[in-house]
């Protein structure tokens, strides 16, 4: 998109970006309690970034967020996921073992018996892996659109 859209669309994108991002992080963090999880939340956050790419000029967007940022998001998400899975082996468990569950530390609270509203500080390594997948999907889906827009720009300038 070589030129930005009208002022109404830009203001709406500014306002909606905050709410879309917060809702996406809510879906990622509550992935083990409510419907949704890493992929769904990451796709919702990426929709917010794509709204900014469509509404504004490409130079404006690249002034706020660099391509390097999304590449680093994708890489760090994958490293965090496989690192959490591999961290169970030196502790004496099997690969992908939920070693934080029930230990009382980070996300380590035991789930109380009976009907309860659901507590965030439970489920062991599952929320950590949800956060890793969320970061990875946010970087990956955003950079697909970013590279598509950049390729169209160079194609239009080449003609």
């Amino acid at each position: 998109m070589s030129d930005s859209l009208s002022k109404i669309i830009r203001t709406t994108a500014d306002v909606m970006f905050l709410f879309i991002t917060v809702f996406g992080f809510y879906i990622v963090l509550h992935g083990h309690l409510t419907p949704g999880g890493g992929f769904q939340g990451g796709a919702v956050i990426a929709t917010g970034f794509i709204l900014l790419i469509v509404a504004y000029k490409l130079e404006d967007f690249l002034g706020w967020f660099q391509k390097r940022t999304f590449q680093n998001c994708e890489m760090s998400g994958l490293v965090l996921f496989i690192g959490t899975a591999l961290a169970a082996i030196p502790l004496g468990y099997l690969f992908f073992m939920n070693f934080l569950n029930g230990t009382g530390g980070l996300f380590g609270q035991a789930v109380p018996f009976g009907i309860n509203p659901g507590f965030l500080n439970t489920a062991g390594t599952i929320p950590i892996m949800n956060i890793a997948v969320g970061i990875e999907v946010l970087g990956g889906l955003s950079i697909i659109i970013l590279y598509m827009t950049t390729g169209i720009r160079s194609h239009e300038e080449g003609e």
Binding site: P35, A43, T47
Partner: protein
């Protein structure tokens, strides 16, 4: 009550799916596809699959519409007879 909403959503899915094919303007067809995807996510929610509904709403109505709009912008509009 839920049956009436279900039938209305199904009729809306049929109407929007037919409109995507009959639309001459490509941008209007892309926006109609977003409406189709939104109605499909409501249908998933009625059928007790909220997980799939969130994924369909984010990927179908958000990201694929943006991909279509960027791709339409890069091509030329020409009538094929």
């Amino acid at each position: 009550m839920i049956e009436i909403i279900h039938i209305l959503v199904l009729i809306g899915i049929l109407i929007t799916a037919a409109l995507i094919v009959w639309q001459k303007n490509l941008v209007a067809a892309a926006v109609t596809f977003a409406a189709f995807s939104f109605l499909l996510s409501i249908e998933f929610y009625i059928l007790q699959a909220p997980d799939v509904a969130i994924a369909e709403a984010a990927v179908g109505a958000g990201i694929s519409t943006a991909i279509y709009l960027i791709a339409i912008r890069a091509t030329h509009d020409q009538e094929v007879t």
